[in-house]
């Protein structure tokens, strides 16, 4: 395209040209881009089916150029169960925030994972209800100020933040479970490999694949996009350690 130059990186064609509504610097957009890069590279654009949540990513289907079904708030795993069981040869994924997956949809999430439903769950943990104006989520950190915890989250009253990846990894139905983050280029590149791994293990029908993505919310954290990087590094990642929590393919290889 450019004479004397070779292409190193471009926005994937599987991500529609539509302008995404996300706030500047919101990691939701990075994750959309990554999932679509993997879909493009694996050549599964015509097969894959996504299930979008209620939350800031409610319009995910407007941006990712693949088949999509919108679910009621928290019910993405139930909807994906139906889709995957009806169309077992199609890769299926849910895309859910922490309010969607860990609050109103906790039952659906845990039971789908416990049943070992063979789809991938991409779980965006930004420790807040982004869409509705920054209320406390099950994942909000201890002491973190939100509109419904104006003095900081107090575990004595509302419990401790839930470590979904660790919880889900205890369920026998889960084949792969990892926590990744999008706070720097190295971690973004790593997260992309993990998304691919989820789709690959899904194709082997080994069980549920769960990827928790530690994310940000510049708007409701009341921080500039750059300042959210510090909060992620110094607060989120201290409580939510990155890494593979479970991988049945790793033990099989031994």
């Amino acid at each position: 395209m450019k004479e004397g130059y070779t292409l190193v990186y471009k926005r994937p064609d599987t991500l529609l040209k539509t302008r995404m509504h996300y706030c500047p610097g919101c990691f939701h957009s990075i994750l959309h881009k990554l999932i679509m890069e993997v879909v493009e590279e694996m050549g599964i654009q015509n097969d894959v089916i996504g299930v979008s949540p209620v939350g800031c990513s409610v319009f995910a289907y407007d941006y990712m150029d693949v088949d999509f079904q919108e679910a009621a708030h928290g019910r993405a795993c139930a909807v994906a169960t139906g889709i995957k069981r009806t169309l077992p040869n199609h890769p299926v994924f849910t895309y859910q925030g922490d309010g969607d997956l860990a609050a109103i949809g906790l039952a659906e999430t845990m039971h789908a994972c416990n049943r070992g439903e063979k789809f991938s769950i991409f779980f965006v943990n930004n420790a807040i209800y982004g869409m509705t104006g920054g209320q406390m989520a099950p994942t909000t950190l201890e002491g973190q100020i939100t509109t419904t915890s104006p003095y900081g989250r107090d575990p004595k009253n509302v419990g401790y933040p839930m470590k979904m990846a660790e919880m889900v990894s205890q369920l026998p139905g889960v084949a792969y479970c990892e926590r990744v983050c999008l706070n720097n280029p190295a971690n973004v590149r790593k997260a992309k490999k993990s998304i691919r791994k989820c789709f690959e293990i899904q194709a082997q029908n080994l069980g549920t694949t769960f990827l928790e993505v530690v994310s940000n919310c510049p708007t409701n954290w009341r921080l500039s996009p750059i300042k959210t990087l510090d909060f992620v590094e110094n607060n989120m990642l201290k409580y939510y350690p990155l890494g593979v929590k479970k991988d049945v393919t790793a033990t099989e290889e031994k």
């Binding site: 130059y5 190193v8 990186y9 990087l229």
Partner: protein, 74 residues
């Protein structure tokens, strides 16, 4: 010295978040504080294009996919 890398940033797609500026190892990029795109947002631009090594860190981080990266072919 000739540039080894080249970035193109879509002014209209950019939301001026600054993540690309923050993660460019060669300090090639900056937010144009004097101008805005049609959405009223300041946008990123390459101010030291000669220093670009084509590492694509900026584009990998860019939430909105506003950046395309090329490398000089030998």
């Amino acid at each position: 010295m000739a540039a080894k890398g080249l970035v193109e940033i879509s002014v209209e797609t950019c939301k001026g978040c600054g993540l690309c500026v923050h993660y460019c190892p060669m300090k090639c990029l900056a937010i144009n504080e004097a101008d805005t795109n049609s959405y009223g947002l300041h946008y990123a631009q390459s101010v030291e294009p000669d220093k670009c090594i084509g590492c694509a860190n900026c584009a990998v981080m860019c939430p909105d996919g506003a950046i395309t990266v090329y490398k000089q072919s030998n």
